[in-house]
């Protein structure tokens, strides 16, 4: 019997070994796969166990955290949610994250290795450091001025510091409060469905993600291209352009909105927004020159991150001369985000050098220690300094004595360009009123700000002048806020 008891003992030992092997398989081999299973709530529980780090504007948090006492413990709160929604995005336990909340999620949620001097320690202890803070480049005064200026109308504002690329304001209107998406449950679901079904598209970030035909504001690109290509050497020389201008190779006649464009110089054409002159100049520059000029300003680039991705602004690379003529005045297939047009104004204001636009100034640990500074770099030279200086003069004239007089600010040099983009079949859609501009305080070494404003509902006035009436005052309010020292 001794022998058989031993065999039973070996059998039981084999059972224990089988258990140990299986447990090792589950806990070591399968561990990562189980952790990554979307039905496993542990990552979410760990993620919301501690308050999320904050997004800062002017050093003050515009976000917060609320202990809900639920399984997913901390929910996001927003101070002034609609105002900063295009910057922060939302952080939802149900629908994930967007914009800065998404781009800086590892830092805000505490998984960024930069948050700990000893990342290995947190691996061993299975904890995670407190979420870090993200200081944005946004200035509250500019943001409020832009948001108030839009006053619920559909539109967007993007403002940049030309010398650095810092995004000073980023507004989309109408907006929404991201706080309604923070938690879980039926109310969050209902809010999500309501926001998505809203025809006004409040969750659309029009400043970064919507592209509009830039209309006459694109004439700045065309003028710069002409100067760079040497097509125009004297901005005040007559261009021998008829009014209306027959589009090359067609019998279509391109008219002007105003008068006095017959045989106007390029300076006058920018000042009074002559379609005929700029279309003709665009054709003279040629497809290759126009494409190069537009791309150096950021068109056709779908890799731009601020750090959220920005929609690609388009300038077609394969067009017939008549299409090129229309594209040169910001029509046909030419499309731009408000940020793109702010970059155009910023490049002119910054002597031709285009800085990379960015929204995050610095990231810090919970206690304020620096994690990373903004990666400030140049996107390249969009135009020569000489061209930029001439373009500055042209833009100043628009504001001083042209179509953009509503943007003038006493005590500052302001350059601008109006635009009204017609779109839709037979121009049936709502025209977009544009204004792009930059401002430099008298005596200041650098321009303080470059702004692009687009307003969608300038329905009453279909002429270029609507850019001046609907969009320029908003741009002026933003520029005034920028010129006031913080």
């Amino acid at each position: 019997m001794i022998r058989y008891i031993r065999w039973c003992g070996y059998f039981c030992a084999a059972l224990v070994v089988a258990l140990l092997c299986n447990v090792a398989r589950v806990q070591i081999w399968e561990s990562a796969a189980y952790g990554a299973n979307p039905a496993n709530k542990r990552p979410a529980i760990a993620r919301y166990a501690e308050p999320r780090g904050d997004v800062l504007v002017d050093g003050k948090p515009v976000t917060g955290s609320r202990d809900s006492g639920q399984l997913l413990r901390h929910e996001r709160t927003y101070a002034n949610g609609p105002l900063y929604a295009p910057v922060t995005g939302f952080s939802s336990q149900t629908y994930g994250t967007s914009f800065v909340e998404r781009a800086e999620d590892p830092l805000l949620s505490g998984t960024d290795p930069g948050l700990s001097a000893f990342p290995l320690w947190y691996d061993l202890a299975r904890g995670r450091p407190a979420g870090g803070n993200v200081a944005t480049t946004i200035r509250a005064a500019l943001q409020s001025a832009a948001y108030t200026g839009l006053a619920g109308k559909r539109g967007a504002v993007a403002a940049l510091e030309p010398a650095t690329g810092r995004i000073l304001a980023l507004v989309s209107s109408p907006s929404y409060d991201p706080a309604v998406l923070s938690g879980t449950g039926t109310r969050v679901k209902a809010a999500w469905e309501r926001l998505n079904a809203d025809p006004a598209k409040p969750m659309l970030n029009r400043a970064l993600r919507e592209t509009y035909p830039p209309g006459s504001t694109f004439k700045i690109v065309t003028a710069a291209a002409a100067l760079e290509a040497g097509v125009v050497t004297d901005v005040d020389a007559p261009t021998e352009t008829p009014d209306p201008y027959p589009l090359p190779g067609t019998s279509t006649l391109l008219p002007n909105a105003g008068t006095g464009c017959v045989d106007a110089s390029m300076a006058e054409a920018v000042q009074w927004s002559c379609n005929t002159v700029m279309a003709k100049i665009g054709v003279q520059v040629g497809l290759e020159g126009m494409v190069r000029a537009a791309q150096r300003l950021g068109f056709n680039d779908d890799t731009l991150r601020v750090p959220s991705w920005v929609s690609r602004s388009n300038f077609d690379t394969d067009m017939s001369p008549d299409q090129l003529a229309l594209s040169a005045i910001g029509q046909f297939n030419t499309k731009a985000t408000p940020l793109q047009m702010a970059m155009v104004a910023a490049a002119v204001a910054n002597g031709g050098e285009l800085k990379s636009p960015h929204l995050v100034d610095r990231t810090t640990q919970d206690d304020g220690d620096l994690v990373r500074n903004a990666d400030q770099h140049t996107l390249g030279r969009a135009m020569s300094p000489g061209t930029a200086m001439r373009m500055q003069e042209l833009m100043v004239k628009v504001v001083r004595d042209g179509t953009g007089r509503n943007a003038a600010i006493p005590g500052a040099t302001v350059g601008g360009k109006t635009g009204t983009a017609q779109h839709g079949v037979g121009n049936a859609g709502t025209p977009y009123a544009w204004f792009i501009s930059w401002a430099k305080a008298d005596g200041a070494p650098f321009p303080a700000v470059a702004v692009a404003v687009v307003v969608e509902d300038a329905a009453a006035n279909r002429r270029d002048i609507s850019g001046n009436s609907a969009a320029a005052p908003i741009a002026r309010a933003v520029m005034e806020a920028a010129l006031r020292k913080p």
């Binding site: 019997m1 008891i5 003992g9 589950v26 806990q27 990562a32 039905a39 299975r126």
Partner: protein
Amino acid sequence: MTALTAKVAEPAPPPPRGDRAAKRRGVELALLTGAVLISVLGHLHVGYASTGRLPEGSSHYAAGLFGAALLAHLAVRFGAPHADPLVLPIAFLLNGLGLVLIRRLDLTTPHHLTAGEQLRWSALGVVLFVLVVGLLRDHRVLQRYAYLSVAVALVLMLVPVFFPAVNGAHIWIRLAGLSFQPGEFAKILLAVFFASYLAANRTALALGGRRLFWKLKLLPGRVLGPILTIWLLSVGVLILERDLGTSLLFFGLFVIMLFTATGRIGWIAIGLLLAAVGAYAVATFEPHVHGRVDDWMNPFASIDRGEGPGQLAQSLFAFGAGGLLGAGLGHGQSFLIGFAAKSDFILATAGEELGLVGLAAILLLYGLLVDRGFRAGLALRDPFGRLLATGLASILALQVFVIAGGVTGLIPLTGMAMPFLAQGGSSVVTNWIIVALLIRLGDCARRPQAAAREVAE
């Protein structure tokens, strides 16, 4: 003749030091102290991890545990002085760990606190341990009650059929607010019956029967009858009570003891064949069991169906989250498993919070306890004692394998209590009685005079 007489008359020399079995009661006390210390520290850690303060009444708790351990130790010291010194500390450590894990899970279910109840049942278990060790001076007495044992066991197993099902299984009796699992007690009684019956009939079983062909022999009906009866009963219990675990345990116990008694591999083959036929039939026709097998084959199917993770998937997630070192006591999320987290799935909490290291330690503790049972069986001289020790050790081993294998996805899940760890009064009390019997068997096995008497007989 004279030489022989002279030899006998000669005083026996004292046995050499290595041969004399040491009592090692001091070792037991030291290990017991360690086991209680680990339990108390675990208790403090769980409280501190959840509230940031040490739990109230900790000193009473510690004093109570030390008192119980001391009482059990004294019972062994005076009632079974030669018993194996490892058995009692392992039982205390496992019971203490179970209390820690249940208390930890209580923190996530504030409306359903069970640690206190478990503590009272454990105390009752220790009292019964002391009584068994104190009153049962010789295990061979049990042999006399073999048929009474099996009668009581069958009654206990059948009674729950007349009580309402709890969570789909008819294995509980609810009386006066107490719920009670009689099948737990039945397993000791069955082990006693098997050991007694097989010890009495093992010659017939090993040698008797008509030869069919080669080595295979048909057994005489007189001996075969009870075996078939037991098999049919175990399947019957399963069907009536929907308790796959218990029937598997009884059947496995029977096959192991039959093999130990007769040494015939054929028994194992027949046993496995019968078990396979029974299990296949039940898994096919019983939806409750069928679902368990489906879960085992594909634990994440319910996720794919959009119904969220089931218990087994949640259990696997918990083990996976533990990894090598565990999340730390009080830092896991094993409560996601749901209502059975404290009972059937207690091991998942151990796996998540103590990690592979802690879980392996627990499994090895069980292995060590089973090993001590087999050692007692090897050292005993009487067939009944050998079979009983083998049976009790096998009960522990099978139970640990069935439940641990179930919650880790090695075999289909069957509802069963992890000995000492899981919440459940009947289980804890039963296991303390098993440990008391192992202590008694170990004491007989290691007692020097027992060996001497055996040789004289």
